[in-house]
């Protein structure tokens, strides 16, 4: 008998990623509808303290595997440990956040369990007992509804798309001892990125395009700074060598859904739109009144970004100070 919903959490520096709370909240919503318990599983080292937090977001039970060997993500080990947990507990639904890591993990598990998986979901619903996923396809040009078959049904949720909601539950902690399976991938070295916050998880993204005219993005950094956001870029800006590849937003870059997206010196090519059209609010600053970006933006300013953007930063700074 399969029962319950299992959420796979993700930690960075012993803290949960924002997406963990989002996925857990969505899991809580589905668990209430199905009248079934919600569990969360935490893999890592020294994660017991953090695990306690999960009960505030609706976890009835928290399964913790705490081991030195789990300090860094290891696809082989994580897959096999989760496979054992899933086959032993037989959840009906397993949810992930669609991070780089968990895209791989969820796929490997769906393959081993021979069951349906929907990636980068923008919405979930139940039809009877079955999960229906909403996904954006073809560069966000279409919305697809996808029915999942098999048990468990697996979904990986797009970051920044589902609200994290407080829901106090018992969050009983259960430690799990695991046999650490061997791994085929040897970690040689980790090189941390420079960004404080991940583009896909940021509430505010300020992006620059070829209109920046050069590698100096400091006006955008300042705006992102006062808004608590991060800086993204178009492919043109990346190809010019002005920004790292990891900053590219679009169909061949990251897909982001911040609350606020500010496009500066960006023409609005369809491949760029593919990566940001699901943002909550889109602001465009472009000196060309006919730039296509204004067809996708909610608010537009025609003007030189080097004159307008610093003024926006100053204005927000002013309001932040008087608040």
């Amino acid at each position: 008998m399969s029962d319950g919903i299992l959420v796979v959490t993700e930690t960075a520096d012993k803290k949960f990623r924002k997406s963990t709370y989002e996925v857990l909240s969505e899991g809580r919503r589905l668990a209430d509808q199905l009248n079934t318990p919600l569990s969360a599983v935490v893999l890592g080292i020294d994660v017991l303290a953090a695990a306690d937090e999960l009960r505030h977001y609706g976890a009835d039970r928290v399964l913790v595997c705490d081991a030195l060997e789990l300090a860094d993500f290891d696809s082989d080990r994580f897959t096999l440990i989760l496979y054992d947990i899933i086959t032993a507990r037989q959840p009906k639904i397993v949810l992930f956040g669609a991070s780089i890591r968990d895209k791989q993990l969820s796929t490997r598990l769906a393959t081993k369990l021979d069951t349906g998986l929907a990636m980068e979901c923008a919405g979930l619903a139940l039809e009877g007992d079955n999960l229906i996923a909403t996904r954006l396809m073809y560069g966000s040009k279409l919305i697809a509804k996808v029915a999942l078959e098999g048990t468990p049904q697996i979904a990986a949720l797009r970051p920044n798309f589902f609200p994290a909601t407080i829901a106090e539950k018992a969050g009983e902690i259960e430690r799990i001892d695991v046999q650490l399976p061997p791994t085929r991938i040897r970690l040689i070295e980790k090189k941390p990125g420079s960004a404080k916050l991940d583009l896909t998880e940021a509430d505010v993204v300020v992006s620059g395009g070829r209109g920046m005219g050069g590698p100096d993005f400091s006006v955008l950094e300042s705006l992102a700074g006062v808004l608590g956001g991060v800086v993204g870029a178009t492919r043109s800006a990346v190809d010019e060598g002005w920004r790292p590849h990891a900053d590219q937003v679009g169909q061949t870059g990251k897909v982001v859904s911040p609350k606020l997206y500010v496009a500066c010196g960006i023409s609005g090519a369809i491949q760029h739109i593919a990566g940001m059209s699901s943002s909550g609010c889109i602001v465009a600053v472009n000196k060309d009144p006919d730039a296509p970006i204004f067809r996708y933006a909610d608010y537009g300013i025609v003007g030189n970004l080097y004159e307008v953007v610093p003024e926006i930063s100053r204005e927000i700074q002013k309001r932040n100070e008087t608040r």
Binding site: T107, Y138, L187, K191, T252, L260, I270, G303
Partner: protein, 264 residues
């Protein structure tokens, strides 16, 4: 000798206007222009570079798709790949990603390989699923979103993208890697090479030819099924913020974002 297999998918041109079919179950494919998935261009390029660097070896391109997908395979051959294989079968008209992976993995049992290179995602379905599943079915390690790789002896060392930064990892071959932008700059096929590519071997195989039972891959076996397609809701018309000076515009914008949009 190094055998590289590149997994390649043909997708609609990213500029395409996508239309929905009458049953709202699929896109209209009649008037589309088709291209090689952009991430697979990086895969083909990397495969060719590996062969060139080693001074020996073979790059085989493997694709599952309809007859028209041969055009994308030919493009890969014109870039410099050696051989192409297309898996085309009536039972595979609308496979889900796991089915695609199962069939590709079965086909790979008949092709010798040391390294498989795939795109991190196909920009049509954006499922990010096929490469990890192929690696799992074949029981080989998978290195995702690689920006740099180096092969020495029977080992591959890769720098791969993490959510925050990168990591350098090492695995024994055979292995599968997926591409991330920055790995290389794919070459264009020159006209003489396009002509030469027409003579390179390109074989089409059915499920039966792979020793597979078509009944196990048809619609009854699917684990995910698209049952409705709609266009995203249209945004409201863009509100242009006016003002005599940059300062005025900025003030008006900030006020609107706060009071009307509620995002500040």
């Amino acid at each position: 000798m190094m055998n590289v297999v590149v997994l390649l998918k043909q997708v609609p041109d990213t500029e395409s206007l996508i239309e929905i079919n009458a049953e709202a179950s699929d896109i209209q494919t009649d008037n589309l222009k088709w291209i090689m998935n952009p991430y697979d261009e990086l895969a083909v390029e990397e495969g060719i570079r590996i062969r060139e660097k080693m001074g020996n070896g073979k790059v085989t391109v493997l694709s599952l798709g309809p007859e028209r997908a041969t055009a994308a395979i030919r493009t890969a051959l014109a870039m410099g790949a050696d051989e192409g294989v297309l898996i085309n079968d009536p039972a595979l008209e609308k496979p889900d990603p796991l089915t695609t992976a199962k069939v590709l993995a079965a086909a790979l049992k008949a092709v010798p390989f040391d390294l498989i290179i795939a795109g991190q995602r196909a920009v049509d379905d954006d499922s990010y699923l096929v490469p990890s599943a192929v690696a799992e079915y074949l029981g080989i390690p998978m290195l995702g979103m690689v920006v740099r790789q180096e092969i020495t002896g029977g080992k591959i060392r890769c720098e791969l993208s993490l959510q925050d930064g990168t990591a350098v990892v090492e695995a024994d071959l055979p292995a599968l890697l997926t591409t991330q932008r920055g790995l290389n700059q794919p070459r264009y096929a020159s006209l003489p090479n396009i002509m030469k590519a027409k003579k390179k071997p390109l074989e089409t195989k059915s499920l039966a030819a792979l020793g597979l039972d078509a009944a196990q891959f048809g619609s009854a076996a699917l684990k995910t099924r698209i049952f409705s397609l709609v266009f995203p809701p249209k945004r409201k018309v863009c509100k242009m913020i006016s003002g005599k000076t940059a300062e005025e515009k900025a003030a008006a914008l900030v006020q609107t974002l706060r009071e009307e949009a509620g995002v500040l």
